[in-house]
C-alpha cells in the first residue's frame, strides 16, 4: 500500500486481539485434550478392572480345583495337589506359594502367621477369604476352608503381578489395598499424583481396593501453543489488513470529496480574493493618485499665477507621490508573483528602521508607542528586503489593530532583534489583549480572520514569505499580548568560526 505506514494507534488493540485469540485457541485445545484424557482414563480403568477381575477369578478357580484334589493328597493316595500347584505356579508367576494346611501338614512360611489361622477358623467349609501377607510385602494370602481333611488351602499372590505389563502407561500407577492395608504403592514419583480411577473387586472373596493414579500431563504442548500463536497472529494480521484497506478506501473517498469541496472553495475564494485584491489596490493607489491630481492642478494654477515657489513645492510633492505609487505597485507585484525571492545580505536593523518609517504615522494616530532599539552589534542575515519589510509591516499593523481595539493609554509595540543559535530573531510584541488558544491555532490558515474587513491572507502570506527566504514565522503565546517571532538564517560570515 502506498501510504500505509504502520498505524501505531491500533497496535495495542491488535496485540489484545491476538492475545485473546491465542488464549481462546489454547483453551479449546486444552478442553479437547482434557476430554480425550478423561475418556482414555475411563477406558484404562475399565481395562484394569477387567484384567484384575479375570485374575482373581482364576485364583478362585485354582482353589476350587485344589480343593477337589486335596482329600486325596491328604490320604497320601495321590500327589495331584502337588502337581496342580506346581503347574499353577509355573503358568502363573504371581502365585508364589500354595499350601495345604491340616493337622498333619502344619503351616509353613507366611501361613504360620497367627492371623491366617484366625481368619480361617471362623470360615464355613468351602468358604474363602483373603488377608494381607505379613511376611512378604505386596503379597496377599487367599484361603479356602476344606472339610476333609479339616484345614485350609492357602495361596500367596504377588499383587504387583495382577496386571499385565504395559497395560499402564509410564506416567500412571496403581495403589492396591486389602482390608485397609496397603499392598502395593505406585512408584515414589507417582505417589502424590492425581487419582483418576478407583474400584473395589467384588465377587471372588478378594475385595481388593484399587486406585489408579497418573502424573498430571500437560494438556497443551509447546508446539501447539506456538502454532496457535502463529495462526492467531495470521488471522489478526489478515483481519487488520482487510480493515486497513477498507479504511483506506473510505479515506480515498473522503479525500476525493474533500478535494471536490476544496476546489469549489478555492474557486470561490479566488473570485472573492480578486475582488478584495482589486479593492485593496484601488484603496492603496487612491491616496497618491489623489495627491498627484490635486498637486498637478495646483502646479498648473501656480504656473498661471506665476507663483514659481508654489510650483516647485507642488512638483516636488508630485515626484514623491509618483514614487509612492510606484512602490505600491512594486509591492502588489511581489504579492501576486510566485517568483522565488532574491535574498541578499541585509543589515536587519536598517530594514526595521525603513519599515518603521511608514508605520510611525499610523502608530501616532492610534496612540500606540513603538519601541525599537537597534542592537549594539550589527546583525546581518540573508533575506529579501521587500518581503521582510512587508512581513514586519503586516505584523506591526496587526498589532496596531489589536491595540486600537483596546484603547489603552499604555499601549505599546516593541520590536527587538537578537541572535540565537545561528538565527536572527526579529520579534514583534504588543501588550494588547492577545488571542485565545483557539484563534492562535488557526491564524496561519488562509481566509481565517477575526477582523470584520479582513481577508485572512495577511499572516499566511507572511509565513509564506518567511519560508521563501529560508526562515519561518512563529507565534509565541505569552501572558500579555501577542508575540510573533521571525526566524532568519544569519549571514554565514558573522558566524563564529
Amino acid at each position: 500500500m502506498s501510504n500505509s505506514s504502520p498505524d501505531y494507534r491500533h497496535r495495542w488493540l491488535l496485540a489484545l486481539a491476538w492475545g485473546l485469540l491465542c488464549a481462546l485457541m489454547l483453551a479449546l485445545q486444552w478442553w479437547q485434550a482434557h476430554a480425550r484424557q478423561e475418556q482414555e482414563q475411563l477406558q484404562l480403568t475399565q481395562t484394569v478392572q477387567r484384567q484384575m477381575l479375570e485374575k482373581v477369578a482364576q485364583h478362585k478357580a485354582h482353589l476350587t480345583a485344589l480343593t477337589a484334589v486335596a482329600p486325596l493328597d491328604a490320604a497320601k493316595e495321590s500327589s495331584a495337589l502337588q502337581h496342580i500347584a506346581q503347574s499353577v505356579q509355573t503358568i502363573y508367576p504371581r502365585v508364589q506359594e500354595i499350601q495345604l494346611v491340616t493337622a498333619a501338614t502344619p503351616a509353613t512360611g507366611s501361613c504360620r502367621d497367627p492371623a491366617v489361622a484366625q481368619t480361617a477358623a471362623p470360615l464355613a467349609p468351602r468358604a474363602s477369604a483373603s488377608l494381607p501377607d505379613a511376611l512378604h510385602p505386596g503379597h496377599y494370602l487367599f484361603l479356602k476352608k476344606i472339610a476333609a481333611p479339616e484345614g485350609w488351602l492357602c495361596v500367596r499372590i504377588d499383587s504387583s503381578h495382577l496386571l499385565d505389563d504395559k497395560v499402564l502407561p509410564d506416567d500412571s500407577g496403581l495403589r492396591i489395598r486389602l482390608h485397609d492395608h496397603t499392598l502395593l504403592e505406585p512408584a515414589a514419583q507417582l505417589q502424590q499424583s492425581h487419582k483418576f480411577g478407583e474400584f473395589t473387586l467384588a465377587g471372588y472373596d478378594q475385595p481388593l481396593q484399587v486406585q489408579l493414579l497418573s502424573r498430571p500431563r500437560s494438556l497443551v504442548s509447546w508446539s501447539m501453543a506456538l502454532i496457535s500463536a502463529l495462526i492467531s497472529a495470521m488471522l489478526v494480521g489478515a483481519a487488520h489488513l482487510i480493515w486497513q484497506s477498507r479504511q483506506q478506501a473510505r479515506r480515498h473517498q473522503q479525500r476525493a470529496q474533500l478535494l471536490a469541496n476544496e476546489a469549489q472553495l478555492a474557486h470561490a475564494s479566488r473570485v472573492n480574493g480578486m475582488g478584495e485584491m482589486a479593492s485593496g489596490i484601488a484603496h492603496e493607489l487612491a491616496q497618491p493618485v489623489t495627491a498627484l491630481l490635486s498637486q498637478s492642478q495646483a502646479a498648473l494654477r501656480a504656473h498661471e499665477l506665476g507663483k514659481t515657489e508654489l510650483l516647485a513645492t507642488a512638483l516636488q510633492a508630485n515626484v514623491r507621490e509618483a514614487r509612492r505609487a510606484g512602490a505600491i505597485l512594486e509591492r502588489m507585484r511581489s504579492y501576486v508573483s510566485n517568483a522565488p525571492s532574491q535574498p541578499q545580505r541585509l543589515d536587519l536593523a536598517q530594514v526595521v528602521d525603513q519599515a518603521l518609517l511608514l508605520l510611525e504615522g499610523p502608530a501616532r494616530q492610534a496612540k500606540v508607542a513603538l519601541c525599537w532599539q537597534a542592537p549594539l552589534q550589527p546583525c546581518s542575515a540573508w533575506a529579501d528586503p521587500v518581503a521582510l519589510e512587508q512581513v514586519l509591516h503586516n505584523l506591526v499593523r496587526n498589532a496596531l489593530d489589536a491595540l486600537g481595539q483596546a484603547q489603552d493609554a499604555q499601549a505599546a509595540i516593541s520590536i527587538t532583534l537578537e541572535q540565537s543559535g545561528g538565527e536572527a530573531l526579529l520579534m514583534v510584541q504588543d501588550n494588547g489583549p492577545g488571542m485565545t488558544a483557539a484563534t492562535a491555532e488557526r491564524i496561519f490558515e488562509p481566509f481565517f480572520t477575526t477582523k470584520s474587513d479582513g481577508m485572512g491572507l495577511g499572516l499566511p502570506l507572511c509565513a509564506t514569505l518567511m519560508e521563501r527566504m529560508g526562515g519561518r514565522l512563529e507565534y509565541v503565546p505569552g501572558p500579555h499580548g501577542a508575540r510573533f517571532v521571525m526566524h532568519l538564517p544569519l549571514d554565514g560570515t558573522d558566524l563564529p568560526a
Binding site: V289, A317, G404
Partner: protein, 193 residues
C-alpha cells in the same frame, strides 16, 4: 475658512496646496480627534473630511460635531466610492460626497455650493438672532405685517388701538434694523428655513 481632515499627509498637503492657489484659507487636521480638540467653533467654515480613518471615521466626526451644534456644511472624500457609504453619508446630512482622486472643478463646485449654504446658514442665524429680541406682542404684530395687513387692520385683529400698533412697529423697525415690510418679511422667512 476650510477645515481639512485627512490622516494621509500627502493627500492633506496636496489639497491644501491646491486650495492655497485659489487663496482659500485652509486649516488642516491630521485626525478627527485633532479636529474635535482644536476646531475654532466661533469661526464657521466648510469641513472637508476623509471617510476612512483609524480610530474615527469622517462620518462619526460629522455626527459628533452636529451633536455639539456645529452644523457647518461637510464634504466627505473617500477612496472607496461605494454606493452604500454614499447613501449613509447623505442620510447623516453631509453636503457632498466626492471620490478620490478629486477633480479640481468638482471640488471647487462643491466648496462653492457649501459656501452658499454656509452663507445661508449665517443669514438664518442672524435673522433668528434678531427675532429672538422681540416681545410676544411685537412678534404677533410682525406676523400680521408680513401677511400684508395695515396698522388699522392689525389693531382690529389684535383688539388694540392703532397708536399702540404704530408704537410696536416703530420698536420693530428699530430692533430689526429696517422699517421696510419687504425686508421684514424676508427676515422672517430666512429665520424659518
Amino acid at each position: 475658512m476650510i477645515y481639512l481632515i485627512d490622516d494621509d499627509p500627502s493627500v492633506r498637503n496636496a489639497l491644501h496646496l491646491l486650495l492655497q492657489t485659489y487663496e482659500l484659507p485652509v486649516t488642516c487636521f491630521e485626525s478627527p480627534a485633532d479636529c474635535l480638540a482644536h476646531l475654532d467653533r466661533s469661526q464657521p467654515g466648510i469641513l472637508i473630511t476623509d471617510l476612512r480613518m483609524p480610530m474615527m471615521s469622517g462620518l462619526q466626526l460629522h455626527e459628533q460635531l452636529m451633536a455639539q451644534g456645529v452644523d457647518w456644511p461637510t464634504i466627505v472624500i473617500t477612496g472607496h466610492g461605494d454606493l452604500h457609504a454614499c447613501r449613509r453619508a447623505f442620510k447623516a446630512g453631509v453636503t457632498d460626497f466626492l471620490t478620490k482622486p478629486i477633480e479640481e472643478q468638482t471640488l471647487l463646485q462643491a466648496i462653492e455650493s457649501a459656501q452658499t449654504r454656509l452663507d445661508q446658514q449665517a443669514e438664518r442665524n442672524e435673522a433668528r438672532q434678531s427675532l429672538r429680541g422681540l416681545t410676544e406682542r411685537e412678534r404677533e404684530v410682525l406676523e400680521l405685517i408680513t401677511k400684508g395687513l395695515g396698522s388699522k387692520e392689525i389693531a382690529a385683529a389684535l383688539d388694540i388701538s392703532v397708536r399702540t400698533v404704530d408704537t410696536h412697529r416703530a420698536k420693530l423697525a428699530e430692533k430689526l434694523g429696517t422699517g421696510s415690510v419687504a425686508e421684514q418679511t424676508r427676515l422672517l422667512l430666512t429665520a424659518a428655513l
